[in-house]
């Protein structure tokens, strides 16, 4: 059986791009959104989120900008780039095909009976 950690690792770039595409987010917000939307499935060591974000940024898929909040604190918001959007479209389609294929195996139809 594939460990959950490997599943999360393999899908992390798609998950992060997908969240950031919906709205620009900062690190802590991303952790909370991932945990909330997946009902706690995607929980990982929070410090390891930033290396993943920086890897995406180095690849030009997202870009980070510091923003000053009204309370004087600064947060680094991540925005998806055009390249990131193109990559996300491709990854979504790959995930769709993968999930369809897995479903076909796990829930055999009339041809399998």
């Amino acid at each position: 059986m594939v460990p959950r950690r490997d599943l999360v690792k393999g899908s992390s770039s798609s998950l992060l791009l997908s969240l950031i595409e919906q709205q620009p987010m900062y690190g802590y917000q991303i952790v909370k959104e991932l945990a909330a939307r997946s009902q706690g499935y995607f929980k990982f060591k929070e410090g390891t989120l930033y290396p993943a974000l920086h890897r995406l940024e180095k690849s030009g898929l997202i870009t980070g900008r510091w923003q000053l909040l009204p309370n004087g604190r600064q947060r680094r918001y991540y925005y998806i780039t055009a390249r990131g959007q193109a990559k996300l479209v491709l990854e979504k389609s790959q995930w769709h095909d993968f999930l369809t294929a897995v479903k076909l195996i796990l829930q055999p139809g009339p041809s399998g009976s």
């Binding site: 060591k45 290396p51 604190r73």
Partner: protein, 314 residues
């Protein structure tokens, strides 16, 4: 900030070994994240101490986080790759194309190396500067080679002064470079076994004669090749993300270039010299790492003594 948090962030900062520009962003982000999380946990009813402990536990171990940050940020761009391998490439071409005969070319290459190193050193010591820095040690080496030509007594006295000063200068540069990362000291010293190897091959007595120049001319293509191998090594080094692969690459390349020198200088270098060169190569790799370890232990002991002194005086 509590001492526990400072220690956590300092440990990540030390192990991630980032460039200044990246370091500020990464550390500020982690700090902001921890502040948000601790605030949320204290609002949910935990004490400040419990909140910080829970938060750091959920952030992950400092070594894991630092390693992942290193792997995310360490890979250089293609521009950086070219800039870092350029001094080796220039030296390689100097010999491969026989430009070393012309003092004009030699001066241009040395001036370019010096100017680029000074520029990089004063502009935040980017990764690419360390391979250039290694070649700025050449004038120091050249002075050492000139000294045996002085009259006997003067030569002895000059060498007596030269060796401690040259060693002091070398260690000073290594310590400065180690402040960024010991692996860059190894990167800087990488040409050392190659230069020593070729020097011994053309002039085993330590003096340059007409015959040495003939040998230099004969070996020039292979000297060029060995520097081009270094340039390729550095290019791969910059593109690799994993630290252990980088160390492995430096060790393999050192072994390869030393073997190449011994192979192409048939009869000029014996087995004893080969092992001596291997020893120099391992020194290049291990001395900066050991020096960093030693300095780190020294810093820890000083801090502990200060801490003990402060607690006893209270």
């Amino acid at each position: 900030m509590t001492p526990e948090l400072i220690q956590y962030l300092e440990s990540i900062k030390h192990n991630a070994r980032l460039e200044d520009a990246d370091e500020t962003d990464v550390m500020s982000e982690l700090e902001a994240h921890i502040e948000d999380k601790v605030k949320e946990l204290t609002e949910s009813g935990l004490t400040a101490e419990e909140a910080l402990k829970t938060c750091l536990g959920e952030m992950g171990g400092t070594r894991l986080v630092a390693r992942q940050i290193y792997e995310a940020c360490s890979q250089g761009s293609w521009k950086q790759t070219l800039l870092t391998s350029l001094p080796h490439l220039l030296f390689g071409l100097l010999f491969a194309l026989n430009w070393w005969h012309y003092p004009g070319w030699l001066s241009i290459v040395l001036l370019l190396i010096l100017a680029t190193t000074v520029y990089g050193w004063w502009h935040g010591k980017p990764t690419w500067v360390f391979s250039w820095l290694g070649y700025t040690l050449l004038p120091v080496l050249a002075v050492g080679l000139i000294l045996p030509y002085l009259p006997r007594v003067w030569s002895f006295l000059a060498l007596l002064i030269y060796f401690p000063m040259a060693l002091w200068w070398l260690f000073h540069i290594i310590i400065q470079t180690n402040k960024r990362d010991w692996i860059f000291s190894s990167l800087m010293l990488l040409p050392l076994p190659v230069i020593i190897g070729w020097f011994l091959a053309v002039s085993s007595s330590g003096r340059f004669t007409e015959y040495s120049l003939q040998l230099l001319d004969y070996f020039a293509p292979w000297i060029g090749l060995s520097f081009i191998v270094l340039a390729l090594t550095i290019a791969a080094f910059i593109r690799l993300r994993q630290r252990w692969l980088r160390v492995g690459l430096l060790a393999t390349s050192g072994l390869l270039t030393v073997t190449l020198i011994v192979h192409y200088t048939i009869g000029r270098l014996n087995t004893f010299t080969f092992f001596g060169l291997i020893l120099v190569m391992w020194g290049v790799l291990l001395v900066p790492a050991l020096l960093e370890h030693y300095l780190k232990s020294g810093r820890k002991i000083t801090l502990r003594r200060r801490h003990t002194a402060a607690s006893t005086s209270q």
